[in-house]
Symmetry: C2
Subunit: 491 residues, 2 copies
C-alpha cells in the first residue's frame, strides 16, 4: 500500500476561497487526473497539516468533503484511502477549463431555438441620444419611487414574499384595470389583467397561445422586430402586411393569408411609422375578427404621449366580441428596467394565459407590483406622464425646427401626433442603414426605418427619438447628423 505523495500541493492564503476549499479542490483534481491513484493511502491529517502549514481542522474539513463525495474512504484504524470505485475513464480526465475556446461541435437544438439563433443581435441594446423609445430618466421621481418601495421592503407582507398570484398582485391588477379604463377606455375586470415582466412577454405569450408550427401570423410591415422574433420562435410564419394611411391594411392581410387567425397591430401609434388607425379600419378589423373567428393583438406601446387631441381609445374598448388581446407596458411611461408590462385578455382566456405564464416563469415580483399600484393610485404616474408630455412636445418641436433648418436638403420630416420619435424620410439616394451605422459610431442611436421592413417595398427613413434627448444637446447633435448626411451623400 503506497502513501500518496502530496508535496506538490500548495495553498494560497491570499485567495478569497477558504483554505479547506482550496485543499479539497486540489486533492480532487489530483485524484481525477490520476496523480494520486485509487487505493493510495492519504497521509494523516496531522502530517499533512504540518507539511502545508495549515491547521489540522482545515485538512479534516477537506477530507470530510472528499469522503462525502465518495473520492476517499476511511478504514477504521487504518487512515483514509483514495476510493477504488472511481471508474477508469475518469482518471485521465483533463481539468475542465471553462475559459478555453468552445469546442467546435454542432449541438442539435429544437427548431424554435434554431430559428432564434438567426434573429439578430443579442447584445444589450445601448440607449443614447436619439434612441427611439428612450424616456427622460433624469426627471423621473426616483425619491418617491424609492420611498414607496422601501416602505414595502422594510416590513414586507408575507403574501408578497411568496405565492404572488400568477397574474400579479391583486392591488396592481385593480389599479391597472381602473387606470386603463380611464385613460384608454379599456373595458375589463381586474381578473382580465395579467401582469407580466414587460410587453415582450405579453407578445410572446399571445403568439404562443395561438400559433402552431407553420401557421401564418399577420403583422405590420414595417413592424416591431420583437413580434417577428416571437412568431419565428413559435415555428410560425410572419406575414408582413402593408400599412396605409388608415393603418394595418386588412384588405392586403386577407389577400396575403386568408387563413391567418392572429393579427399583431399597433393601432394607437403604428410602430415605427406613426399613423393612428382610423375608426373605420378599427371597426372593419373587429367585424372581420368576429365573423371569421380571428384574434387581434393590440400593442399599445406609447399612446400615453399624445400631443394633438387626446389619446384615442383602445381597440379593446370597442371590441364587443372578446377578440382583442391588449398589450401595454410601463417601459415608456416609467423606464424599461422596471420590467413590468401587462396583458388584458378576454374573460374566457384568462385561465389558459395564467397556465402559459406559469410555465414561462411563474409570476412577477410582488413588492415592485404593490409599489407600482400605489404609484398609480396615488397619482404619481399620471403627474409624471403629464410633465413628460409637455416636455416631449417641446423636444419634438425643437428637433423638427432644427432638422428643417439644417437637414432639409436631405430629408423630410413632420410632427407626430403622439409618441417619442420622428420619422425623417430621406432622399432616395441616401441609405438609412448607412446613416444609422455612421451615427452609431458618433453615439447617436437613431434607427434605420428600412430595417423594420420584411417586404421589398420599403422606405428609406431615420427613426429619431426625441423624448430622451435634452433640447440643449439637440443643436450639436443635429449639426453632427447634417455633417454625416452631407458626407454620405458626397461619397
Amino acid at each position: 500500500m503506497k502513501n500518496a505523495y502530496l508535496a506538490s500541493l500548495s495553498l494560497d492564503s491570499s485567495e478569497t476561497s477558504p483554505l479547506h476549499r482550496q485543499l479539497f479542490l486540489k486533492l480532487r483534481d489530483s485524484i481525477l487526473q490520476g496523480v494520486i491513484k485509487p487505493g493510495t493511502r492519504l497521509p494523516s491529517s496531522r502530517l499533512l497539516a504540518n507539511d502545508l502549514r495549515v491547521s489540522r481542522n482545515t485538512v479534516l474539513t477537506a477530507f470530510d468533503q472528499l469522503m462525502a463525495e465518495g473520492y476517499i474512504t476511511s478504514r477504521v484504524g487504518a487512515g483514509s484511502y483514495i476510493s477504488d470505485h472511481l471508474p477508469d475513464e475518469l482518471l485521465q480526465r483533463k481539468k475542465h477549463d471553462a475559459k478555453a475556446p468552445a469546442p467546435v461541435r454542432k449541438i442539435r437544438l429544437s427548431r424554435q431555438a434554431e430559428a432564434l439563433r438567426h434573429t439578430g443581435n443579442i447584445k444589450p441594446y445601448h440607449q443614447g441620444p436619439f434612441s427611439p423609445g428612450k424616456p427622460e430618466l433624469d426627471l423621473f421621481p426616483f425619491e418617491d419611487w424609492a420611498r414607496l418601495l422601501g416602505r414595502h421592503w422594510r416590513k414586507p407582507k408575507k403574501e408578497y414574499l411568496s405565492g404572488n398570484p400568477i397574474g400579479g398582485a391583486t392591488v396592481l391588477r385593480e389599479a391597472l384595470a381602473e387606470h386603463l379604463g380611464q385613460t384608454r377606455a379599456v373595458n375589463c375586470t381586474p381578473e382580465q389583467v395579467i401582469v407580466l415582466s414587460g410587453s415582450q412577454q405579453a407578445i410572446h405569450l399571445v403568439i404562443r397561445a395561438f400559433a402552431e408550427i407553420g401557421d401564418p401570423i399577420l403583422m405590420e410591415d414595417p413592424g416591431y422586430p420583437g413580434t417577428r422574433n416571437s412568431i419565428l420562435a413559435a415555428g410560425a410564419h410572419p406575414i408582413p402586411v402593408p400599412v396605409d394611411d388608415e393603418g394595418f391594411s386588412l384588405k392586403d392581410a386577407i389577400r396575403l393569408a386568408p387563413d391567418a387567425r392572429l393579427a399583431c397591430l399597433s393601432p394607437s401609434h403604428q410602430y415605427p411609422l406613426g399613423p393612428t388607425m382610423s375608426l373605420r379600419r378599427r371597426l372593419d378589423l373587429l367585424e372581420w375578427a368576429k365573423t371569421k373567428d380571428r384574434f387581434l393583438l393590440e400593442d399599445d406601446y406609447d399612446s400615453e404621449y399624445r400631443y394633438t387631441g387626446r389619446p384615442l381609445s383602445s381597440l379593446q374598448g370597442l371590441d364587443t366580441d372578446n377578440r382583442v388581446l391588449y398589450v401595454g407596458s410601463m417601459s415608456k411611461v416609467m423606464f424599461s428596467g422596471l420590467r413590468i408590462g401587462y396583458l388584458v385578455v378576454p374573460p374566457e382566456l384568462v385561465d389558459v394565459f395564467l397556465a402559459l405564464r406559469r410555465d414561462v416563469d411563474g409570476h412577477s415580483p410582488a413588492v415592485a407590483e404593490a409599489a407600482l399600484a400605489e404609484f398609480i393610485s396615488e397619482g404619481y404616474l399620471s403627474a409624471h406622464i403629464r410633465r413628460m408630455r409637455l416636455l416631449y412636445q417641446k423636444r419634438q418641436s425643437c428637433l423638427i425646427a432644427l432638422l428643417h433648418e439644417k437637414c432639409s436638403e436631405f430629408l423630410q420630416v413632420e410632427a407626430q401626433e403622439c409618441g417619442m420619435h420622428l420619422v425623417a424620410f430621406l432622399n432616395p439616394e441616401i441609405s438609412d442603414k448607412q446613416i444609422e451605422q455612421t451615427c452609431r459610431k458618433e453615439g447617436m442611436m437613431l434607427r434605420a426605418l428600412s430595417s423594420f421592413y420584411e417586404g421589398a417595398d420599403l422606405q428609406n427613413a431615420l427613426i429619431i427619438g426625441f423624448a430622451g434627448t435634452p433640447e440643449k444637446e439637440m443643436p450639436q447633435l443635429v449639426d453632427k447628423l447634417a455633417l454625416i448626411l452631407n458626407q454620405t451623400k458626397a461619397a
Copy 2:
C-alpha cells in the same frame, strides 16, 4: 336636421372618473347604441353644460375626444354632428360587459396552450405551516435588503434603468459565478451565467431549447411538476424514470427512451424523495451524455441546506464535456417573491439561450440584480444561509421527534441529510392524498408524495416542510396531524 335629445344623460360627481370622461363615454355609448342617430346635431356646448350643470370646458373636452375618435364631426358655424361614417352594424351594438359570464365558445388555441390547459391548478400556491420549500421569512434581514435596494433606487445608474444585458447585470453574473464556484464547485465564467426570473424560467428555456414536438424528455419519477408542465407545454413527452438509492436510474432511462436527448435531474437532493445521487451514478450519467450526445438539466434547488457532511459538489463541476445545464434559484435561500434564478450553460450555448430569453421576456430588472450582487459579495447571503442552516436543522430534529412520538403508528420518517422537508412514509392503508386534503382544510400545507408520481409504482407518503415552521408551533400542528391520521384510518 334633428337636434339630439340628451336629457337622459346624467353625470355623477362622486365617481372617481372625471366628468368630461363620464360625458364622453355616455355620449359614445348613446351613439354606438343608436340612441343618437348619425347626422344628428349635438346641442351647443353652452346649452349642454347648462343642462348638465357642469362647466362648459367639461363639455368641450368630451366633444374634442369624440371628434378625435371620429364619432362626431364639426361644420364651421353649424355646430357638431354625429358622424355619418359609422358603419350600420356598429349602431345596434350592445354595451360590452366584461363582467357578464363568458360566452360558451370554443377558441382554437395552439397545441402547447391546449396541453397547458390541463396541467392543474393555476391558483396561487398558498404557503403555510408544513409547506415544503417555504423558508423562514421572519428572520430574513429585510432592513439590510431594503437599504441595499434604496441606495440604488434613489440615484439609479442609467444602465440599470434601460438596456440591462439579456443575461443579467454583469455585477450579478460575476458574483454568482464566484459564489457557485466556491459553494457548489460550479466551473464557469460569468458569461455562462444567465440570470433569469426564477428556476421555472430556466427549466422552461432548457426544455424549449432541446425539445421538438413529440420528443421524449427524461425526468425523475417522482419529480418536479414544473418540469413536467414545461415538457408538456413544449409538445414533448415526459418520460418518468424511477429513482433508486443512488438517484435517477440511468439503466431504466435507457430502456424507457433510448433516443431521449435531455434528462432533467435533481442530483444534490432528489425532489421530492431526498436521496443524493451517488458519485458513481453521476459519473455514469456524464459518460452517457458524452458518448451518446445527451444533455443533463441539473436542478440544484435547495442544496445549500445540508446538515450532515458538507454540500456536495454539483454535477456541473464534474462535467468535462459541457453536457450540464445547471439551474439554481434564490427562492429557497432568500424568498420566492424575489424572482431571481439562474442558468449556467455550456459556453457554446450562451448565445442561443440569450436569444431564447430575449424572446420570452427580454431581460430582468437590473436594480434588484445589482442589490443582490452586493448582498452576495458583502457576505449577507452566506451569513443568512449559515443562520438558517442551524435553525432548519433544529426544526427538522424537533419535527422528527414529535412525529416519532405522536404519529409512529401511522408513518415512518427519517432525518434528511439536506433540504427543507421530510418524507414521512404512510402505512399502506392510509391515502396520502386524503391526508393532504384534510390537512389543507386545517391550514397545514403538507403535500402528498403520490401526486408527484407519473408512473403507477408510487409510494404513499407525506412531504412535510419544516424550514418555515417555528418549533413552538410544531407540537400543536403534529397533534392535529395525529388526529387526522387517526380519524382517516378509522374511517
